[in-house]
């Protein structure tokens, strides 16, 4: 699913590794905007925008 980077939120440790007590290198976190239609398909009523804070490791170039 393609989204648009709206903000750069600074850098934080990847929680997937921090949860195991690793001190992973901080990486950039982006607020990425998605359309509800793209995430869940066309629904009743107008689509809305979902903004997710995502670590760089979660993203692929779109």
């Amino acid at each position: 699913v393609a989204g648009t980077v709206e903000r750069v939120q600074g850098a934080d440790r990847l929680p997937d590794r921090a949860v195991y007590g690793e001190r992973a290198q901080p990486e950039p976190v982006y607020s990425v905007a998605f359309s509800s239609d793209d995430l869940w398909g066309r629904g009743e009523g107008p689509p809305w925008t979902v903004l997710l804070d995502l670590w760089e490791s979660y993203l692929e170039a779109a």
Partner: protein, 200 residues
């Protein structure tokens, strides 16, 4: 991490302590046997909020409504602007303030757990942590009707950033001071499940 971090009101990458487990077990038993209702637990949380919670956020919003320069600083760097009023710290040290406009309505959720800006809003209400809210966040169920042409932006607060909604100042409040304005700014207005009511 197990599902029990739903009930802690908070999440940290650390093991749940024995005392927390005991508190949860007690709460579950008391509720199960009808000795304590979840409403009563909500009431305690409300009390806590009245002492430390959303009135702080209301000061921030009221200041933004009367002081355009402060509003600009707040939207540019929420953490610093909120600290100007003396609020900050744990669960609020990376604040982003999102502004409602006639065209955009903002709503804050945490789909994983209960990420919430404690210094300005206090502890999260129980509904914030409920699966139906996290899964659907249906504004109509909160009694909030928005025009179809208003873009709804849902901010998922699951990472390190904590969001605060800057609601629109309602008409009929011209000339009000910050104290009076703060009185109509509720917690829900700053989560985005409500908008401030104009004075009757």
């Amino acid at each position: 991490v197990t599902d029990d971090h739903d009930h802690n009101g908070h999440h940290h990458p650390r093991p749940v302590s024995e005392v927390e487990l005991r508190a949860e077990a007690l709460e579950a038993l008391l509720a199960e046997r009808g000795l304590v209702s979840t409403d009563a637990i909500d009431a305690v949380i409300q009390l806590y909020e009245n002492d430390i919670g959303p009135q702080n956020g209301a000061r921030v919003v009221a200041r933004a409504w009367v002081d355009p320069a402060y509003r600009r600083r707040l939207l540019a760097n929420g953490t610093d602007a909120i600290a100007e009023l003396g609020f900050g710290g744990s669960e609020g040290d990376n604040m982003v303030v999102v502004e409602n406009t006639p065209d955009v309505h903002n709503l804050v959720v945490c789909t994983l757990c209960s990420c919430y800006p404690w210094p300005v809003l206090g502890l999260p209400p129980n509904w914030y942590k409920s699966p139906p809210y996290r899964a659907r966040a249906v504004l109509r169920e909160f009694g909030l009707a928005l025009a179809d042409d208003v873009e709804i932006r849902v901010w998922d607060s699951s990472a390190e950033v904590r969001y605060l909604v800057l609601p629109m100042r309602p008409g009929g409040t011209e000339g009000w001071g910050e104290d009076d304005l703060a009185g109509i700014i509720t917690r829900d207005c700053m989560v985005g499940t409500a908008v401030p009511s104009p004075p009757a």
